[in-house]
């Protein structure tokens, strides 16, 4: 692999990871703003849930990011080996999501969550190598 293609590989993986995490975090933020589906369904029925989701701008931002990440993935797979793209993007997105959950979504990421996150992350790396 020459220098140029190595650079291309990493740029694509970084774009993929960025879009992936942006999609997950926007979707999580959207659903937090919409609120508990169960509570909405009891109050306003299934249509209340659908209306709640479809009137939430962050849902569409998340959906757009996820769609773009899907097509970036297809493009990446056509030029880079599957065994590099999948584990690299999965584990990096996982870590970025965990950090984003704490600092952007302000979730309470306890010591227990960090430990389990690191265990899972290590497990993904071992499984995919």
């Amino acid at each position: 692999m020459n220098h140029h293609s190595l650079l291309t590989t990493w740029v694509m993986i970084l774009v993929l990871v960025g879009l992936n995490s942006a999609g997950d975090m926007s979707t999580a933020k959207a659903m937090r703003r919409v609120g508990d589906f169960g509570a909405i369904r009891r109050r306003a029925g299934l249509w209340g849930v659908v209306r709640g989701v479809l009137t939430e701008p962050w849902f569409f931002i998340g959906l757009t990011a996820m769609t773009l990440s899907f097509f970036t993935m297809l493009a990446a797979l056509s030029i880079i080996d599957l065994s590099i793209v999948i584990p690299a993007s999965a584990s990096m997105s996982f870590l970025l999501n965990l950090i984003g959950a704490k600092f952007i979504l302000k979730e309470h990421v306890t010591k227990r969550r960090w430990i389990s996150g690191i265990l899972v992350l290590g497990g993904i790396v071992l499984l995919r190598t």
Partner: protein, 160 residues
């Protein structure tokens, strides 16, 4: 059982899970794992799509395997949306990585693939991590003047 723990003055966390919600986590795992498998399987049957045969890409969802894969991915997506409405991303994400374990075990027991020691260690680590996270709190709530946010309609009988 609703358990609210005061952790820091800024936020608290709760256990927002019940049987149905754990079941939805299983749908996320099953939908994403098998969805990917069937889409890949179907695309392999269709064969490589070149620039000259871009039309095949549009017709791809009509292939039974691809259609099944898309249906499973839709199941994954709706379960994912619902679960994020009552649980944290940092809870859902690690707890649904059990799909990796499922894939490795399926490869071993159904396809007879040899699983090297490093993978067994990986399986053990993910299983341990999943067990650890699902035993902890599942949702961060922020106290506001109107009550906690997000608004939760916690019915004690639905939260055993």
């Amino acid at each position: 059982m609703q358990e609210v723990q005061q952790s820091t003055p800024a936020h608290r966390h709760v256990h927002s899970m019940n049987f149905l919600r754990y079941l939805l986590l299983a749908f996320i795992v099953i939908g994403s794992t098998f969805g990917d498998v069937y889409v890949a399987k179907g695309m392999k049957r269709i064969g490589e799509i070149s620039v000259h045969r871009l039309g095949d890409l549009i017709l791809a969802p009509l292939h039974p395997y691809v259609a099944l894969g898309i249906a499973l991915l839709a199941l994954f997506y709706f379960s994912y949306l619902a679960s994020l409405s009552w649980a944290d991303l940092s809870y859902i994400m690690p707890s649904t990585t059990f799909g990796y374990v499922l894939t490795a075990l399926l490869a071993h027991f159904m396809l007879g693939e040899r699983v090297p020691l490093t993978r067994w260690i990986g399986i053990a680590m993910i299983s341990l991590g999943v067990g650890l996270i699902t035993g902890g709190h599942s949702l961060t709530v922020v106290p506001t003047p109107e009550g906690v946010s997000p608004h939760l309609e916690m019915k004690p009988e639905a939260r055993s």
